[in-house]
């Protein structure tokens, strides 16, 4: 069982044991089972909080100050405990076995002559174990004393049906004069009857474009581009209207057989010339 290697750390348990619900007295203190009965020890195995817990209980059974326990005796007791668990075919969590291996190693090291010991010395390892047991014992005792205090709701009581204190929220509303007046303005603006007015625009009617284009075509000799029919120096807005009207006028003249249209490419300049009677 002795590890030939050098386990220098005291192994920590790797799994939490199920919480131990000990028979509770009013103080919440742990009821001590009869620890001198080996059979009882076996049955309690699920109640141990890991190997350190067992060691602490074993140490306490030496009935001396924890600072004066015999580590060798403790190791023997622990190993005996594990052996008996084996005989009973109880399945022990791995950490109990790891602790057993480590303690067996510690024991053999403690029994070796001092000159052959390595660093850290077995005495140091033993001391560390002892310090840990002291700390666990201190906390266990502190827990018991804490639980035994006069606890609110168990030993001392508050008022069971207090009236309660209430904080009432009172809202203070905030609004500025300007907000008020602006809001009214907006209500008025939103609901005022709306009249749509369309401004007059300069347009060239189809009629006037027709007159203009046919008149200009009459004096033209050759092909003319459509844009040349537009009034020069006109307002850009009027120009747009004139272009549209002149285009429709050109189509109309072509339809009437008075003019012909030509366009060399898509979106290219549109040309037109007068169609003399008999040309066709």
């Amino acid at each position: 069982m002795t590890d030939p290697g050098e386990p220098q750390q005291l192994p920590l348990a790797t799994a939490d044991m199920p919480d131990f619900a000990w028979p509770d007295d009013a103080a919440g203190e742990r009821a001590e089972p009869d620890r001198d009965d080996p059979a009882r020890l076996y049955l309690d195995i699920d109640g141990w909080e890991g190997p350190l817990d067992i060691l602490l209980d074993l140490a306490r059974r030496q009935k001396v100050d924890l600072r004066k326990i015999s580590i060798l005796e403790l190791v023997d007791q622990y190993l005996a405990f594990i052996d008996r668990a084996g005989e009973m075919k109880l399945e022990l969590a791995a950490d109990y076995l790891v602790m057993a291996a480590w303690l067996a190693y510690l024991k053999s090291a403690l029994l070796l002559p001092k000159e052959e010991q390595e660093d850290p010395s077995p005495a140091e390892l033993a001391l560390r174990l002892q310090l840990r047991l002291q700390r666990l014992a201190a906390m266990r005792e502190a827990a018991a004393r804490l639980m035994a205090r006069d606890r609110l709701g168990r030993d001392v009581f508050g008022r069971d049906a207090p009236e309660g204190l209430r904080v009432l929220k009172k809202r203070a509303w905030q609004c500025e004069w300007f907000d008020l007046v602006q809001a009214y303005g907006q209500v008025k603006a939103r609901t005022a009857p709306v009249v749509h007015m369309v401004r007059e625009r300069m347009v060239m009617t189809l009629e006037s474009a027709l007159n203009r284009v046919s008149a200009m075509l009459g004096v033209a000799i050759d092909w003319m581009e459509l844009r040349q029919f537009l009034p020069p120096h006109a307002d850009p807005k009027l120009k747009k209207s004139a272009l549209a009207s002149s285009f429709v006028a050109a189509l109309e003249l072509a339809k009437q057989g008075r003019a012909e249209l030509a366009q060399d490419e898509t979106f290219g300049p549109l040309r037109l010339r007068v169609l003399k009677k008999g040309d066709k």
Partner: protein, 216 residues
């Protein structure tokens, strides 16, 4: 305070800790069948002048805070809140047109007005119910209060600016309002989307930062 005897102390404690009022017999049972008549009388007298008093209701005894101190158990805390847009409009209409019914307010605003809106104005103390209009249905009519004038620093309602003044101040310009609304909506959407973008970035960054921290 004179030292109470053990029975008085016990009765005091039992009554204090009880979740409900107790009869004399119940208290006695708690205390091993003791007769607690005198103890109750003594406690009643002891607590008579205190902030807590022992009272008997029917056959049942209990402690309660002294009635004259009940107001201390409630504490008021002011919470300043800005009036909503709808409430502000409502208030303005009441102020300009009072007395006015709810139906009239709605017809001026051009939208339905929630009942809660008028309640808020009444809670604020600026609007009051001024009676009923003498028409079929007898609708409730509303008017402003003196606190309204005080709050807005007005001597009389006539100090409210007239429509001409509002127009001069540009407050009747529908375009401005429409623009403002649009811009508000825009700003909201923009800030929301900005937030969501930031959130996304955070989501993506955070885990990797954490990982870095842990491995460090």
């Amino acid at each position: 305070m004179s030292e109470p005897d053990d029975l008085v102390r016990a009765v005091e404690a039992v009554l204090f800790a009880s979740e409900r009022p107790l009869s004399r017999e119940e208290i006695g049972e708690h205390l091993g069948g003791a007769d607690v008549r005198e103890a109750l009388a003594e406690l009643e007298e002891t607590y008579r002048t205190r902030g807590v008093t022992l009272v008997k209701r029917g056959r049942l005894w209990h402690f309660q805070t002294a009635p004259d101190l009940a107001h201390l158990l409630r504490r008021e805390r002011e919470e300043v809140r800005r009036l909503s847009r709808a409430a502000t409009e409502c208030l303005a209409i009441v102020a300009y047109h009072e007395p006015v019914s709810r139906a009239e307010i709605e017809s001026i605003r051009g939208v339905q007005t929630a009942k809660g809106t008028l309640d808020v104005l009444m809670e604020a103390g600026w609007v009051r119910i001024a009676g009923r209009r003498d028409v079929p249905g007898r609708p409730v009519i509303y008017a402003t209060t003196p606190e309204f004038l005080t709050h807005f620093g007005l001597a009389t309602r006539r100090e409210l600016p007239g429509l001409a003044e509002l127009r001069a101040a540009g407050l009747l310009d529908p375009v401005a309002e429409a623009m403002e609304r649009e811009m508000d909506a825009h700003a909201e959407v923009a800030s929301q989307s900005a937030e969501s973008v930031e959130d996304d970035a955070m989501d993506g960054d955070t885990p990797s930062l954490d990982m870095g921290d842990q491995s460090a």
